[in-house]
């Protein structure tokens, strides 16, 4: 589970949408079955940046550590 947070968006990673007032929460990660070649699946959820941060939000500067981003 990623615990990093985004400095700008209150959600976990930056937003790959065309509208900067919306973002994509990528906090939900799933380890895949051994039959799959990749290790992780990430569930994206479109969110409004004006929404309250979720419980997993932690203040910080995760953009400096890219390991858990896309």
């Amino acid at each position: 589970m990623a615990t990093c947070t985004c400095k700008d968006c209150k959600f976990v990673t930056p937003s790959p949408t065309g509208d900067p007032s919306t973002g994509v929460c990528l906090v939900e990660r799933m380890k895949l079955a051994d039959s799959q070649q990749t290790k992780t699946a990430i569930r994206g959820k479109m969110v409004q940046k004006s929404m309250e941060a979720c419980l997993k939000f932690e203040a910080g500067e995760s953009w400096k550590d890219i390991k858990n981003l896309l």
């Binding site: 900067p20 799959q36 479109m46 896309l70």
Partner: protein
Amino acid sequence: MPTVATPSTERTARLKNRCRFKHVAGGEYVHAGVKAGVERARLITESHKKNIGNPNCIIRARGLANILDNITIHIQDDELIVGANTEHPDYFPMYPELSYFATVDMVESHYCDHQEEMREISEYWRPYTIQTKAEKYFTPEELGIMYSATIVQPPMFVTAFSSIVPTYEAVLEDGLIKRIEDVEQKIADANASLRESPWNAQDKLGLLDKIDQWEAMVIAMKAVVGWAQRHARLAKIMAENFLADPKRKEELLEISDICRNVPAYPARGLKDAMQSKWFTYLLCHSVERYSSGYGQKEDKMLWPYYKKSVLDQTDQVMTYADAVELFECERLKVSEHGSTKGRQLREFFAGSNDLFILTLGGTNADGTDGSNECTNAILEAAANIVTTEPSIGFRWNENGNVETKKKVFECIKKGFGFPSIKNDEMNTQQLVKYFNVPLDVARDWALVLCMSPGITGRRGTQKTRSEGGSDVYPAKVMEIALTNGFDEFFSNVQLGPETGDGANFKSFDEVWNAVKAQIRSAIELSLRSKDVGRIMELTHLCCPFISAIDDGCVEKGMDANALAEVANPWHNIIGGSVVVIDSMTAIKKLVFEDKKYTMAELMDALRNNWEGKEEMRLDFWNAPKFGNDDPYADELATKYYDLIADEWKRNTTYSGTYPLPLAQSVAGYIVNGPKTAATANGRHAGEALDDGGSSPYMGCDKNGPTAVLKSVSKIDASKHKGVLLNQRLSTVLMNSDAGFDLWHAYMKTWHSLGIDHVQFNVISQEDMKAAQIEPEKYTDTLVRIAGYSAKFIDLARYSQDTIIARTEQDMAG
């Protein structure tokens, strides 16, 4: 083993060590210190306020002139090529006139140190942006669909993304002074014509707009000459007042002489040509407006000057080694060149700065081998300096010389992921057949961006992405085809027409027709947004300099955005085509032929991400897959690629013809994975998509490299502008004594099968895993994403894993 760079001179080693790389990872710039420069935005705003009320082309020309007259210029130690798009080498510029969203996104980021001023600037521009101008032609629902980046890429009037092939040859051959004189003569002739007797309004009134366009061109070209002269003065002042090293003094005086000569006058030798090309690149891609790409047939364009300087030794004399050093300098200059993009695009180009791709090889206009000693010098520089950018596209012609192909092999063997290889004969013929390009002109094609050929030369080249570009995302399109057009997984928005719930589909035809209807809807929305954007560009975003260096625009007195002299419409289908093919194959076999599962059971499993249905998932995962020379899966692939070509063919774009689809992925296969629910190929929700246009899904190609090629060859590539194929080759074999022979034999098979494209990763599983643990030892290890290359260590873990997961092909097997 880690890749090791071997810069050819101490100068390029120093330049590389201090290069301010601008690549991004996880949507953010990797290097600390990268900032948004404010001068361009400030200067164009200042000029706009003073010039409102003038024709748009004049406003735009004066805006450019104000930037070029006043922006801070700089020359760094050791540089042989000078000029930048911003006031500081750490910066990238901003374009408040393009997209409000893209500007705000950047202004509110930690990259902007002038937030208060930039907020004011972005609000000033808001009503004038092409975003605001274009949005009124779409409903809020349509905008919501496009901005969600789910089934289509957000439109160009929001992303501000564009692509261009500048008409470099006109600048190198003529020089701007001659072109200014020619355009001034046109203005004089037009004014005389207006006064001819008798008065004929039908003939004459069209001249008014032309006069405005020509006057704008003159303003722009004079400003460019002045900007180059500023660099000449700066170099001279530095040489005469601030430097003690006699060698560097001499270099700066030579730089001063070069900038005094070009782009004002024709290039004399290779140094002039490189500098003139660089200034032109900056103007067309970054100063007048932002456009991605590095579209040029560089070996052909520079060959006359290379020949003069290196072979004939008649002007700006240099050795082959000097030329290699100059090309290394060019690669570092491109690496340092910053582009501003909103987060959506920064994530789409994970690990990259921008899509800088030059083109080599192929044929000359007369059909003879287009590779020459200049080609080899460019490839050698790339092999030495080891930078991800510019990437290289190589036009593989059956008659191309083996020596150059060996240089291509050397770069690939080192694991750069480039040159990527395009089928020369097929792509040349396509320009002739689909776009009516004369054969000799078609033979000079270069890649506009990653994968799409466009003509080069003095006129008729692509000027904007609204001519070719933008994306449809097929995996998401198929997902909503099974959920009545509604996105249950990611956005909770009705993204497409109501085509029914997959649970109720009783035949495979119903599945197929739902997918077809959703693809059609996505294509039409995307094309409409492009063409509306095109009208906004030509009305509100004139580009007088880009127009001034195109012979057609000068002749007709037209803006470059308006003139589509040679149509080149294409449209990407990004990451997910093979997920669609494999999913439909599995549905056809397991649901409608074997009747092992019902559509209701499948939809229930997909909606619950296969939870508690692992056995069922494995059945779908193990169903026939594209990439194994399996006729069952390949037949559907052929049908799918024909469908998308036919669906695009129904439409006519601004330039008067239909676009060809181009199947590829950049990092869309990574970014769109988390937005896409579980799919019927056995993929989980949130897993990455397929990494190319025809690359088998990760780990699903099990029958060796020839089987992959045979599957891909069943796609009729002539109907597509490109079909990207990623392959991972064995490092052991590529580095063995037989490496070149094996690879060359593979390439001959690839060519004989009529396949459009292929690009390679040559890096071992062990090295990638070691780089994840000790990244500091692998700083020069590059990998191919799709369409561009990136440093492996700058990719996030999720992205790295998708490269590791690709099947390593054993060519000897």
